[in-house]
């Protein structure tokens, strides 16, 4: 671990880790339900729209909502938070990780390999795969930067071309990405407007949502370093609508804390966060659970 500023013994990393560990044990059943649920709903939209049981407009709105719910369940899988080191449960990570991303057309292994690099090099201009989004100057800039498509991943592959483990996983994911592309191009010939409004457009909107709340807000205008690279922030939008990304900083400190256990973990860890000068830590309210964290 990097050299950290000295803190009082009562706020030592060992004690912080012990508290964090107590929130890193629960089985993340809600995430499995959300991930598998949204992907199943999204898949069911195709026959429902094609056979005129629901309109394409309604189907598209539902698909956009599904796309916004698609990433986080896979994100838990990327950190192994379903199996939690149990080899017998590893298949849950793999299954949820892949299945939930179908709505976004994202290959799980590309997401996993690049996300772990993002954790290792958060806010590093050369090494963080999400730096382009995190350094965007405005919300519009975020939207523009998310539209570069696969070019972003070509750059990441170039950066890590000598990292054999990364490249192996990345290339497996690239094949899945290619299959997604082929399926999309076959579907668009057979069902053009349905493909546009049920898959392509929702996926684009989902990616913008993801980049805005997962990459930009938590990492915008903060430094590099374990306790400095992600901030606590507030927003006009209740946190239930942006996947509680105001609390994303605790995920960067302890990625194995389950997403829905983060509010309680932050309440318990608040003195440590203040002692370590996590950006915005002073503003964390005493009660985080069931607090919408709105700031007008």
């Amino acid at each position: 671990m990097e050299n950290l500023e000295p803190v009082a013994e009562e706020f030592s990393f060992a004690k912080e880790k012990e508290i964090a560990k107590s929130f890193s044990k629960r089985f993340q059943w809600e995430m499995i339900l959300i991930g598998a649920g949204q992907a199943t709903i999204w898949l069911s939209l195709w026959p429902l729209v094609i056979f005129d049981h629901i309109s394409l407009t309604l189907g598209s709105v539902i698909a956009i909502i599904c796309a916004c719910f698609a990433y986080l369940p896979s994100h838990e899988a990327q950190h192994g938070n379903y199996s939690r080191g149990n080899p017998k449960r590893k298949w849950i990570d793999t299954f949820v990780g892949h299945y939930t991303l179908v709505t976004l057309m994202f290959p799980y292994e590309v997401m996993k390999s690049t996300h772990l690099k993002h954790h290792a090099h958060t806010n590093n201009p050369e090494k963080d795969p999400d730096y382009q989004t995190a350094s965007a100057r405005s919300l519009w800039d975020v939207i523009v930067r998310t539209q570069v498509g696969t070019a972003k991943y070509e750059e990441v592959a170039e950066t890590y071309k000598n990292d054999a483990a990364f490249m192996s996983q990345f290339q497996r994911g690239a094949v899945v990405g290619l299959i997604y592309r082929i399926v999309l191009l076959i579907l668009v010939i057979i069902f053009p407007l349905q493909t546009l409004f049920l898959w392509w457009l929702p996926s684009k909107i989902g990616i913008i949502y993801l980049a805005t709340f997962f990459s930009w807000y938590p990492h915008y205008q903060v430094d590099t370093g374990r306790y400095k690279d992600t901030k606590f922030w507030r927003h006009w939008m209740p946190r239930y609508l942006n996947h509680s990304m105001q609390l994303h900083f605790v995920h960067h400190l302890h990625p194995n804390i389950g997403h829905y256990d983060e509010p309680k973990a932050i309440e318990a860890l608040k003195p440590f966060l203040i002692a370590r000068k996590v950006p915005g830590a002073e503003e964390i309210p005493e009660r985080v659970a069931y607090n919408p964290l709105i700031k007008l």
Binding site: V148, E154, T195, L196
Partner: protein, 66 residues
Amino acid sequence: MQKIREIALNHITKWEMVWFGLIFWGSIFNAAAIYFGINHSPVLWYFLGLSFGVIAKIRGTWLWKI
């Protein structure tokens, strides 16, 4: 097999935007033309999609440059 995979991936990396323009946007423009009752040959709409793809390939992006 490895060689074929390499050639295929290289081709897709280089020409992805052109193929995507032709097939994806061509199909969308054609379907939209049918929906709005515009009676032109589908070739026109696929050519328009192809043009989008070629322009995107030359510019290196579909939308704005960063």
